[in-house]
């Protein structure tokens, strides 16, 4: 997503630690780079004895130029490079016991809260990327939309996605278990999901944003859908994201490559 939509803040809030690229380079004034760059930061985080190696890849410069044609190319290239890496390991006769997995399991795309429709850039990006990676669209900085405006905006976005046959995560065709389906339907209805930024609250410590007209609580589902996004990405569907990446997206890549050679 474009610069300033709160991507780094969201990632830090999601993992409750400073894992974004900006967090690892504090104090630097943000300047928009002239070309799209991809920068990855890897951390090992731990919770209740469970360790996770988390890699967050940022794309500064995306959508920020006057001419944004093909600004998605470096991103597509990066994702395919990770599939290629995995493929090379996989076709070795003596494979490593555990193939190092640098593939992108989820791509969160930040849509600015215009309240209107998806912009041409949003459509083009999601159309291309949803074919090769799990895309989770998110309405950024949703605290500028009233509940009514949010609902309308979401509906329009969903209609837009459907009209252009763009399949975002969770996708419709991959439901296996009927129980899973019920869960996915609810989530799909709420998709895209909103979020607000992170900060400090009042007497009772809440994660939120303090304004003259009230305090916006990030983890309050009445205020913003951040908890749902977190649940989706981490608590319930983390493994699902990995499975679909491996069984669907990586497989398509593999089949394409093997047919080429």
């Amino acid at each position: 997503g474009q610069s300033g939509l709160g991507k780094s803040t969201m990632v830090n809030t999601l993992f409750k630690s400073k894992v974004s690229r900006k967090a690892t380079q504090p104090g630097r004034e943000e300047r928009i780079p002239k070309t799209v760059q991809l920068q990855s930061v890897t951390h090992v985080i731990e919770e209740k004895g469970v360790k996770m190696k988390l890699t967050v890849t940022d794309t500064p410069g995306f959508g920020d130029q006057i001419n944004n044609e093909n600004c998605w190319d470096p991103i597509i290239k990066y994702i395919n490079e990770q599939y290629e890496r995995y493929l090379r390991e996989e076709i070795l006769i003596t494979r490593k016991r555990k193939i190092p997995d640098t593939r992108v399991h989820g791509c969160v795309y930040f849509v600015p809260p215009t309240g209107h429709w998806l912009r041409p850039l949003d459509l083009e990006f999601m159309r291309r990327l949803s074919k090769i990676v799990n895309v989770v669209p998110v309405i950024a900085k949703a605290d500028t939309l009233t509940l009514e405006e949010r609902a309308e905006f979401k509906q329009r976005i969903q209609r837009d996605l459907k009209a252009h046959a763009i399949s975002v995560y969770p996708q419709e065709d991959f439901d296996e278990d009927p129980d899973d389906r019920a869960l996915n339907d609810r989530i799909r209805e709420e998709n895209p999901v909103h979020r607000g930024g992170g900060g400090k609250g009042n007497g009772k410590r809440v994660l939120g944003r303090k304004t003259k007209w009230g305090i916006i609580e990030v983890e309050n589902p009445m205020h913003c859908e951040f908890p749902m996004l977190r649940d989706l990405l981490i608590r319930s569907h983390l493994q699902d994201l990995k499975d679909i990446t491996h069984n669907v997206h990586y497989e398509s890549y593999r089949v394409r490559r093997l047919n080429e050679s």
Partner: protein, 324 residues
């Protein structure tokens, strides 16, 4: 008031006469509004002028936007307040900044502005000058997104291309997405970038020493306050403490459009209104600053072109064979 005391001629009454005539004639003002889709431009304009300029608004979807180039849409409305008439034209620029490649998106806008000036110049040098309609763009509100870290490359390029042709008033839109600290940081950042790129934005001129105190104080306050103004607009009335006010209702509270603690809407409106209703230097200044600069530039250009033509003709005459 006529006085019959010796030495009083009565022309001291002239300002009143001028005032009466102007009030009768009414004022014209053309405001151009530029910014990406979804920054609340229409809502803000409607809030500023307490009117509904866009009753049957249609917001195009992304697929249509891909096909479109920048359009110029002018809507005129006659507003009256306390007997003073204002013919307000708002020039919208839908499509600006929407395309994936926005490289040429302000060519149309520049052309439009130039055309209005040409037309006025032409009318002014015509035979029937009584009913010239002044459609020149007097002021351009440029909407800056509150979601970025400052100006975007497109913002910079637009303002650099247009600051010599129109009074640019940068406005930070949808200000309710920013905390106070974030707002101040953004304003500082925007001002830094504006000066870094040598962009000339509209500066409120100082009040004259002979203006009344209230006006001077108002001007002082406006100048001291941080531009660009960070504003919120709303067409909805919300009940707050028994009163119906314009605002936005969120689960966590109500943002009030006309509350100076919430945003700079009142300051923006005061600034605009001061320019419009006063038969003061400010009004003339706003209209004539670009007018005279452009006019002289164009006149110079015309003059230069004529001179070039004459020079060419002379050169040709000198070159004609067999004339010596």
């Amino acid at each position: 008031q006529f006085s019959d005391s010796a030495g009083y001629v009565g022309f001291a009454n002239l300002p009143n006469q001028v005032h009466r005539k102007s009030v009768k004639k009414g004022f014209e003002f053309t405001l151009m509004v530029v910014g990406e889709s979804g920054l609340g431009k229409s809502t803000l304009i409607n809030s500023l002028f307490l009117t509904d300029l866009y009753p049957e608004r249609y917001i195009p979807g992304a697929a249509e936007k891909i096909e479109r180039t920048v359009q110029i849409e002018a809507s005129t409305v006659e507003i009256e307040e306390r007997g003073v008439k204002l013919r307000l034209t708002v020039v919208d620029t839908p499509g600006y900044g929407d395309a994936i490649n926005s490289q040429d998106c302000f060519k149309t806008i520049i052309q439009y502005i130039d055309n209005q000036f040409e037309r006025y110049l032409h009318d002014e040098s015509g035979l029937n000058r009584r009913h010239i309609i002044d459609n020149r763009v007097h002021c351009c509100f440029y909407f800056i997104s509150p979601f970025g870290h400052g100006l975007k490359p497109l913002d910079v390029e637009f303002m650099k291309a247009l600051h010599g042709k129109v009074n640019i008033v940068p406005v930070i839109a949808k200000a309710d997405t920013l905390t106070l600290k974030e707002r101040e940081r953004l304003k500082r950042r925007v001002l830094d970038e504006i000066s870094e790129h040598g962009i000339r934005i509209y500066q409120l001129p100082d009040a004259d020493s002979d203006e009344d105190e209230e006006f001077k104080e108002q001007t002082r306050v406006l100048k001291a306050s941080d531009i660009p103004f960070a504003v919120i607009g709303s067409n909805q009335l919300i009940e707050v403490k028994g009163k119906k006010i314009r605002g936005r209702l969120y689960p966590w509270g109500v943002v009030e459009v006309e509350n100076p603690e919430h945003n700079d809407f009142l300051k923006l409106r005061t600034m605009l209104v001061t320019e419009l209703h006063d038969l003061s230097e400010h009004f003339q200044l706003l209209k004539s600053r670009i007018g005279s600069a452009f006019y002289h530039e164009r006149k110079d250009l015309k003059l230069r072109r004529m001179q070039e033509m004459i020079a060419q003709m002379q050169a040709q005459m000198r070159m004609k064979p067999g004339d010596d």
